[in-house]
Every structure is written in structure tokens, then in C-alpha cells.
């Protein structure tokens, strides 16, 4: 069956029922998937062609428990399913995705969707996991009871959506007449469950319950969380070093080779002092970023993260936040942009605004190169108690400082706030992280990082090089050439503002492109020092160069600055878009700048006081 007009299909279901995994399988996309609720916060569109050649436009909608929407992401789902979303035609077919492992909860939303009277298919996703849990579902009976086609799927396996594709080729089936308004849906679910589902509790279920007794324990659970995070930051420093050294030496060889091959002149200078010094310095940090993400992804896939959110709910409540803020804040460790977008799952507008305000305080991956460079330059690589790497410990403390500050700021903003509704969270089953999906996700992260280096960092490095190289010094100029350049002049112009923090003019220059992306501050420092240095490999040896030219107080002051650093332009742009308010943008930029300045000032003077 073929048709020129594509079939409009919408995927709807409860949070964490595997809609996006199914969407990726059907369309070949690679949208973000995780083992917790609230990952998809806006509709995503994809196209596919069924085995019979039918064109289909498919929408992946944010998960919701009900059509009575409370948060912005749930409103999108409600309006699209009802066919009233502006700019989006009413769907010809709804695909109600239901987690086979959690039928009792998910059938409720499915029944609500059925009441809309649109043609519908029910997809029992995670059917393999249901089998492992000892659940047996009588599909024929379920189809008969619901009056709708029911197919099974395994969204995370290749070919796991084949049944859905075949079902799309069948003519759409209109649902049975809606149930009367006074029908007790829970009673209806109990009736269907009793007729269609039989349970044989197995050992895995018992094991999960035992595991949860430890992981969710008020004391041991917190200890487990603390130890996991601690090991994560130790690993970032200890495991990455050999690969970082290798990348470092490759960059040095590339610079030497460029210098040897190209004749002396502006092109050679641009390549070595600009591009290789700037972008090369940042590329070296790729292994550390990948190790950090490996941990986060493994925790995400295992199903541990929602449990961590549950554990932290009390602490978040003390800071005036609800557990719903946990996932947006956690996403902000990768980048504040998706974190701020993820706040759409938060129902209370005030809670949402506060979460948006504090999201930039979570240490995003772009800050990691800045931290690592300064830590490796100024913190000795020695072990405490023969176990803990001191550099890893300092990194852990910097991340901790960001989190603690976020909680304090939230407390301050929310001191007069009303009481929030308690956190209701569905805890997913534990799952062993799949090596293939981890590898794919890591590859995605590496591609994102390298694409940032190839675009943002290379272009800014070229501009920084030009600013640091031109204009040339006047005849008879006695100062170093870079002091006469535009970058030198900008640095000296800004110096009076930042001198009380212990910053020199080179740091002042690096702070400006650091607003585009924080890691660019490192490439800018490398370019400025490389252009200004007489040594050929100045950029390749940035860490020792900094440790010989800066005081410890200056380095710590810059670290403190980057804990609070006024966020990048992209973050400000997304805050504007999500809040539709320039006021919020100004408040965020203003309070972060104030905190960064005050923290740096204090750090610099306290360190100077103690170090003499």
C-alpha cells in the first residue's frame, strides 16, 4: 500500500517507556535515550518508509502520565494528541507506547489516549525485560479487551521495532467507543491485568529489591553515591594521563613538522601559534572528557541515577528545590543548554526559574580543560594515604564547590517560596549498561567535542592569533611585540578591573573568548603565550609555562572564577528562549559575574595571606 501524503503518526506514552529508543529504531535517528524519565522535553520529528513503501512522518512526544498536563513538556503531548497543537496537523494515528514491565501504571495513559477516539496502535515495549521479570502477557486477549491492535517491541535492539513497522502498513483501526465519563480507569486496568497478565516472580526481582535496600538506604545510600562520584573524579585524572601524554606529543610533532615544512612567514605562524597552539591544547583533554561521560552514561543506563535523585530529594528540599530539578541539574554537567531545556519537566514555574538560574553553576564539560590545565600546573601529582590522587581530589572539590553554591543560591532565591508538591518518581529496573550503546554514546560525545574544536575553537584561535599578532610594533618599540597588538591593548585595558583578582593581562584577554565557550580560554592562553614567547614549543608546554609565570594565588583565583564564571553565550540564549525574559538573562549573568568576582577576590587574597 503506497500513498503520496505521508501518514502522520505520534508516539505517546509514560515517561521512560522507551519512546525515544523506539523512535530511533524506526527513523534511524540518534536522539538522546536514557534509563530515566524526562529525557525528551520537546517534540522530535522523523521520517520513515514502511516495508510496503508507505511514507510516514513520526513525532516523538515528551512522556506524560496523563492528558491533564501540568508542565510545559506535558502540554506539548496533550495538544499534539488532541490535534490542537499550533502548526502541527492532527495525527492520523497514535502509537501508544507502553512499558511491558510496568503495565499497571502505563495502561492508564493508554486508556486516556483511547478516549480521544483517534486510530491507535498499542506497542508493548521492553517485552524482553518483561519476560525476564517473569511476566507473561496474553497478547490476543489484550487486543480483544482493548479493541486495538497490540504489537510487541524491544526499542533498544536492532530490528526490535519490526512489528511496529509491519503494523504501520495495516489500515488504521478506529478505537472502540469511549468509556463513559464516570468509568473508574483503575478498576478497568485491574480487570484487564487480571485477564491478560500472569506473574512468576523470579530471582532478578528479588536481587533488585535487595540492591535497593542498600542503594536507597538513608546512610549507606549516601555513602554509595559519594564513593561513586569520588571514584569518578579520581578516574578522570588517573586513567586519562597516558592517552593525554600521547596526544600532547602528537600535537608537538605536528607543530614541529609544520614549522619544518612551511617557509617562515605568516601562514606558518598562523598554523603553529594560532591553530595548532589553540586547538591542539584543547584536543589533549578529550580522554578526560570521555572518561567523565563514560561514568555518567554507565550510571544513566544502569538505572542508578533516578535512585540518586531520590536520595538527594531531602537535600534538594532543604535548598528549596524538588527532586524534579535533579535531572536538569545532572544534564547540566554535560552542558547547561540541555539542562535548562530539561527544566520543562518541572511543574512549578518558580521552581523552574530557580533551576534555570542555578543550572550554570553545575560544572559543564567545557570547564574540565580549564580545571585540568590549572590543576596539573599547580597541584602536585602525589597520592594521599597511597590511594587518593591529590589532583583528582582537587577536581572533586571544585565540582563540589559548584554544587554547594547552587544549593545555597537556590536557598536564597527560594526562601519565600511556597511548599512544593512531594516528588513522585518512577524508579526504573536495574540494567547492565550495554557495551555497544556505551560505545555509540561515547563516539557521539567525541564527535561533539571534536566538532566544537573544529568550528568554535579553531575559528576563535585564528581570530586570537590575528589580534595577538597585529598591528606590528612601531619602529624602535622597546616592549615585547604582543604588547603593541590589539590583544595586548585589550588585555591592558581590562587589567585594572581584574588586577585585584591577581589576573595578568593575558588572562584578561583569554576571558573574552571564554564567553563563547569556556574551554576557549585555554586555547586563547596558549595562543597569546605562544605568540608572545620566543620558545618554539611554548604552547605545547603551556602547563609548565603557567606554573613558572603565575603565582599559586593567581591560579587558584582563576579556578574560583571558573567555578562561577559568567556562562557562555549559548546558555544566555537558551535562558532567553526558555523564559522569554531578558530580565532573567540579566539576573543570571549579573549574579554569576558577581559571585565569580567575589570568589576570585577572596581566594586570591586569602591564598596570598597564607602563602606570604
Amino acid at each position: 500500500m503506497t500513498s503520496d501524503k505521508p501518514l502522520q503518526v505520534a508516539l505517546a506514552g509514560n515517561p521512560n517507556c522507551g519512546k525515544t529508543a523506539l523512535f530511533n529504531q524506526l527513523t534511524g535517528s540518534r536522539q538522546k535515550v536514557a534509563n530515566y524519565a524526562g529525557v525528551t522535553v520537546e517534540r522530535k520529528m522523523g521520517k520513515l518508509v514502511t516495508p510496503a513503501g508507505r511514507k510516514v512522518k513520526i513525532l516523538d512526544l515528551p512522556g506524560t502520565y496523563s492528558l491533564s498536563a501540568a508542565s510545559p513538556d506535558e502540554m506539548v503531548t496533550r495538544d499534539v494528541c488532541r490535534g490542537v497543537y499550533r502548526g502541527e496537523p492532527a495525527p492520523d494515528l497514535l502509537i501508544s507506547v507502553v512499558a511491558a514491565t510496568n503495565l499497571r501504571l502505563h495502561l492508564r495513559f493508554m486508556l486516556e489516549l483511547r478516549q480521544l477516539g483517534r486510530p491507535m496502535i498499542v506497542v508493548l515495549n521492553m517485552i524482553d525485560a518483561a519476560g525476564k521479570q517473569g511476566l507473561h502477557i496474553d497478547l490476543k486477549r489484550l487486543e480483544k479487551e482493548l479493541g486495538l491492535p497490540v504489537v510487541t517491541a524491544v526499542g533498544i535492539k536492532r530490528g526490535g521495532a519490526d512489528n511496529v513497522l509491519r503494523a504501520l502498513d495495516s489500515p488504521p483501526v478506529a478505537p472502540p467507543p469511549p468509556l463513559p465519563d464516570d468509568t473508574d480507569l483503575h478498576e478497568e486496568i485491574r480487570r484487564i491485568m487480571a485477564l491478560c497478565v500472569s506473574v512468576h516472580e523470579d530471582r532478578k526481582q528479588q536481587l533488585e529489591e535487595k540492591l535497593d535496600r542498600w542503594v536507597l538506604h538513608p546512610v549507606w545510600g549516601m555513602c554509595i553515591l559519594f564513593v561513586l562520584l569520588f571514584i569518578m573524579f579520581q578516574a578522570v585524572f588517573s586513567w586519562a594521563q597516558p592517552v593525554m601524554d600521547l596526544l600532547d606529543s602528537i600535537m608537538k610533532q605536528v607543530a614541529d613538522l609544520t614549522r619544518a615544512v612551511l617557509p617562515a612567514g605568516q601562514i606558518s605562524n598562523l598554523l603553529t601559534d594560532g591553530i595548532i597552539a589553540g586547538a591542539g591544547t584543547v584536543i589533549v583533554f578529550l580522554p578526560q572528557i570521555l572518561i567523565l561521560f563514560l561514568w555518567i552514561l554507565a550510571l544513566e543506563e544502569s538505572g542508578y541515577l533516578p535512585r540518586a535523585a531520590f536520595m538527594l530529594d531531602k537535600i534538594m528540599a532543604a535548598a528549596g528545590l524538588s527532586g524534579r530539578s535533579f535531572i536538569p541539574l545532572l544534564s547540566s554537567f554535560a552542558c547547561a543548554v540541555p539542562g535548562i531545556m530539561a527544566t520543562r519537566t518541572i511543574q512549578s514555574p518558580r521552581d523552574r526559574m530557580v533551576t534555570i538560574l542555578i543550572a550554570p553553576l553545575m560544572t559543564c564539560s567545557a570547564r574540565l580543560p580549564v580545571y585540568t590545565l590549572l590543576i596539573s600546573a599547580f597541584v602536585p601529582s602525589r597520592h594521599i594515604l597511597k590511594i587518593f590522587n591529590l589532583q583528582g581530589l582537587v577536581l572533586f572539590l571544585l565540582y563540589g564547590a559548584g554544587i554547594l553554591s547552587a544549593l545555597l543560591v537556590s536557598r536564597l532565591f527560594k526562601r519565600s517560596g511556597a511548599n512544593e508538591p512531594p516528588l513522585l518518581m518512577e524508579l526504573p529496573n536495574y540494567r547492565l549498561p550495554g557495551l555497544q550503546s556505551l560505545a555509540i554514546e561515547l563516539w557521539q560525545r567525541a564527535r561533539i567535542f571534536l566538532s566544537r574544536v573544529g568550528s568554535i575553537i579553531v575559528t576563535l584561535s585564528v581570530i586570537m592569533w590575528a589580534l595577538s599578532s597585529f598591528p606590528a610594533p612601531p619602529p624602535g618599540g622597546t616592549l615585547p611585540a604582543i604588547d603593541y597588538s590589539l590583544a595586548g591593548r585589550i588585555g591592558h585595558f581590562l587589567l585594572p578591573l581584574f588586577a585585584p583578582l591577581g589576573f595578568n593581562w593575558q588572562i584578561c584577554v583569554a576571558l573574552i573568548p571564554g564567553l563563547a565557550a569556556r574551554e576557549v580560554a585555554i586555547s586563547a592562553l596558549a595562543t597569546v603565550y605562544s605568540v608572545g614567547s620566543s620558545e618554539a614549543d611554548a604552547a605545547a608546554q603551556l602547563a609548565p609555562l603557567l606554573s613558572s609565570q603565575w603565582s599559586v594565588a593567581t591560579a587558584l583565583s582563576l579556578l574560583a572564577w571558573y567555578v562561577y564564571a559568567p556562562q557562555c553565550f549559548s546558555t544566555l540564549a537558551v535562558i532567553k528562549r526558555e523564559t522569554r525574559s531578558w530580565r532573567m538573562v540579566c539576573i543570571t549573568a549579573g549574579y554569576l559575574f558577581g559571585m565569580a568576582y567575589a570568589a576570585s577576590l577572596l581566594t586570591y587574597h586569602i591564598t596570598r595571606f597564607f602563602s606570604g
Binding site: 522530535k44 552542558c335 543548554v337 561533539i448 581570530i463 565557550a517 546558555t571
Partner: protein
């Protein structure tokens, strides 16, 4: 002289890239002019299409624009 010319073009390209990211409205006359020129010369249809797209108003972009996944695919890559 050739070296200076090549370096200048590279620096201008990078400055244009950032201008497009930070203030796309300032770059619209450039894209409009480029699209018109290419259209009258009947060359490079791919580039012309792209220039026309960038010159047209109301392109709303999502995500951090740090990569392709954040742009046309509506975010979600992080």
C-alpha cells in the same frame, strides 16, 4: 604578499563565522547579495540555496548550536 592575502581571507572567514553565530541579522545583506550574484551567474546552486536560506527571516534554531545535533535535529545530542 600572497601569504598576507591567504591569512587575511582566513581571518575574515573566521570573523564572518562568529558574526553569523552572534548577530545573524547583520550577515543577512551579505547572504542576500551572494544569493543574488550566484543566481544571476547560474553557478553553484547548492551554495545559492544555502545563502537564500540564511538570508530568509525567521529561522529559529534550537540547542547550543555547538554541533549539528543541536541545530536542525532540535537538540538532544548532549
Amino acid at each position: 604578499m600572497v601569504q598576507i592575502l591567504i591569512v587575511s581571507i582566513l581571518v575574515l572567514f573566521c570573523a564572518g563565522y562568529w558574526l553569523q553565530r552572534l548577530a545573524p541579522s547583520l550577515m543577512k545583506p551579505f547572504w542576500r547579495g551572494l544569493a543574488l550574484t550566484l543566481s544571476s551567474l547560474h553557478v553553484l546552486p547548492g551554495l545559492r540555496g544555502k545563502a537564500e536560506k540564511l538570508a530568509s527571516p525567521g529561522i529559529t534554531r534550537t540547542g547550543c548550536r555547538g554541533c549539528k545535533g543541536c541545530d536542525s535535529k532540535g537538540g538532544g545530542c548532549h
